[in-house]
């Protein structure tokens, strides 16, 4: 159940989880730093081009809270997420809850594995909230190109 398109591997370990794996050409300590320090995190965790991350608060310890907020440069379309850390193993593993709007909390686990100076980061999460997902779907449906059975074959290959 995997694909390596764009270098980011997306897998479906079960019907409630989605996992993403990506390797970076840097040691785990550095990837960890980029992931856990607001100064660095807000420079890359932005989604589509043009977004900014005005809110980025991280209290990295078990029971500590995190809060991320995004918006367009003029402050419009702002939204945010927050949660609590349930596991913190430096340079190796972070588990946290993730709350988006009124949805029940999702669980996310991020693992960092270093090998030969490179680090593979795997993020496993329950399927995104219905509202977040609907927003994503609405965006995708907007480009609405007709899809053939050939395309569906690709999808099945992706999932198998």
């Amino acid at each position: 159940m995997s694909t390596t398109k764009f270098g980011t591997e997306v897998t479906l370990p079960s019907d409630t989880e989605i996992a993403m794996t990506r390797t970076f050409d840097a040691p785990a300590a550095l990837v960890w730093k980029a992931y856990t320090e607001p100064e660095f995190l807000r420079r890359w965790l932005l989604g589509p081009d043009g977004w900014e991350m005005p809110i980025c608060e991280i209290d990295l310890r078990v029971g500590g809270q995190w809060r991320y907020g995004w918006a367009l440069p003029d402050g419009s379309q702002a939204f945010e997420m927050h949660g609590e850390y349930t596991e913190v193993v430096p340079h190796s593993r972070i588990a946290n809850t993730e709350v988006f709007e009124d949805n029940p909390p999702a669980q996310t686990v991020v693992e960092f594995v270093e090998e030969g100076g490179r680090t593979t980061m795997t993020t496993t999460m329950r399927l995104v909230s219905q509202e977040a997902r609907d927003a994503v779907l609405a965006t995708g449906m907007a480009d609405g190109a007709g899809r053939s059975y050939e395309r569906l074959g690709e999808v099945l290959a992706t999932l198998s």
């Binding site: 997306v10 990506r22 399927l127 995708g140 569906l152």
Partner: protein, 108 residues
């Protein structure tokens, strides 16, 4: 459960994915569908019911023959979802690549 969750649940089983892959080639009977698998007719029928409930296949009316056909609609939703998801994260990771390069240089 919402439609996408039902679709994901139906797709979570390798036999059901193989059945769908076969149906991309055209309609087939239960007998034809069960041939590649080392499982009983009733077990295949059970998988077909899950797929039918998820709206991924439709079945003919004829009592004996009942050919199964793929219904692509719910898969399109999954395809769009997965593609958007991957695109979203790939943009993030490309920026992270650049940032890590910069951080490595500053470390020196």
């Amino acid at each position: 459960m919402d439609q996408l969750s039902v679709t994901f649940a139906a797709l979570a089983d390798p036999t059901r994915r193989a059945i769908l892959a076969r149906l991309t080639e055209g309609p087939a009977t239960v007998k034809e569908l069960s041939e590649p698998f080392d499982i009983s007719g009733p077990a295949i029928s059970k998988h077909l019911r899950v797929l039918e409930k998820a709206g991924l296949i439709t079945r003919g009316r004829e009592a004996q023959w009942r050919p199964c056909r793929l219904d692509a609609t719910p898969l399109e939703e999954v395809a769009v979802w997965a593609e958007n998801y991957r695109r979203f994260w790939d943009a993030n990771y490309a920026r992270l690549d650049a940032l890590l390069t910069e951080m490595k240089e500053n470390d020196r």
